[in-house]
Amino acid sequence: MSVRLTDEPLRVDAAMRELEGPGLGGVTLFAGRVRPDRGPGGRVVALLYEAHEPLATRALRAIETEARRRFRTDRVVLWHRVGRLRVGEVAVIVGAACSHRAAAFDAARFLIERLKVAVPIWKTERARPVRRPRPRPGPSAGRSRGSGRARRPAAGRSRAG
């Protein structure tokens, strides 16, 4: 899927597969990772990413449509992760496949610049680990689906540090 807002890890090899197509010789991918910046509350160990759904998905789709039109490609990815990400984890992957490299570079740059200003996604610094959720019984409890992408913003999360 070319537009994705997910709490699952993002992978560039999956993005490459999404960008396959006849004649698409040049693929440019950009991946943004959580940096260990120093914030007001100390050294950042994690970022909480949240989105206002369904506006965020609608905005991603609008960017996709414009990129296809401007750069004459029908293979674009705009993937953003939500939830709590540790330093080094991939928060965003954008990419474009075009017949030639110049268009692929321009398209990928366009995608990330637009995404940053036009999509209701936010990051909040977590300078210390927040308390872990209590482990739940059963092997299927490892993933907390939907965290960070709820229509309602997560309430009552206190800023660490």
Partner: protein, 88 residues
């Protein structure tokens, strides 16, 4: 004092949520009605830490960006406060 005539749901994201301490408020509509501008002023008055953030925010009613803050809100409306976006 008259009874409120329904309420709007205020969604607060990121720095706005952290300034208020929660992400959702049920805000009563007074009998004379409530414009978006009046709502923004009222939540800023109730949560002083939110004021600097509010100056940088965009507002969204029922999924559409609000250009005209004189728009009157209706019972059941969802009114979202969007601080500057920070994806990526």
């Amino acid at each position: 004092m008259n009874r409120p005539t329904g309420s709007v749901t205020v969604l607060l994201f990121a720095s706005a949520r952290e300034a208020v301490g929660r992400g959702e408020l049920a805000w009563p509509i007074p009998p004379g009605g409530l414009t978006a501008a009046a709502l923004v002023a009222a939540i800023g008055a109730k949560f002083p830490r939110l004021r600097p953030t509010l100056a940088t925010c965009r507002f969204v009613r029922n999924g559409g960006y609000l250009d005209d803050l004189e728009t009157r809100l209706r019972p059941g409306d969802e009114f979202a406060v969007h601080p500057p976006y920070g994806g990526g």
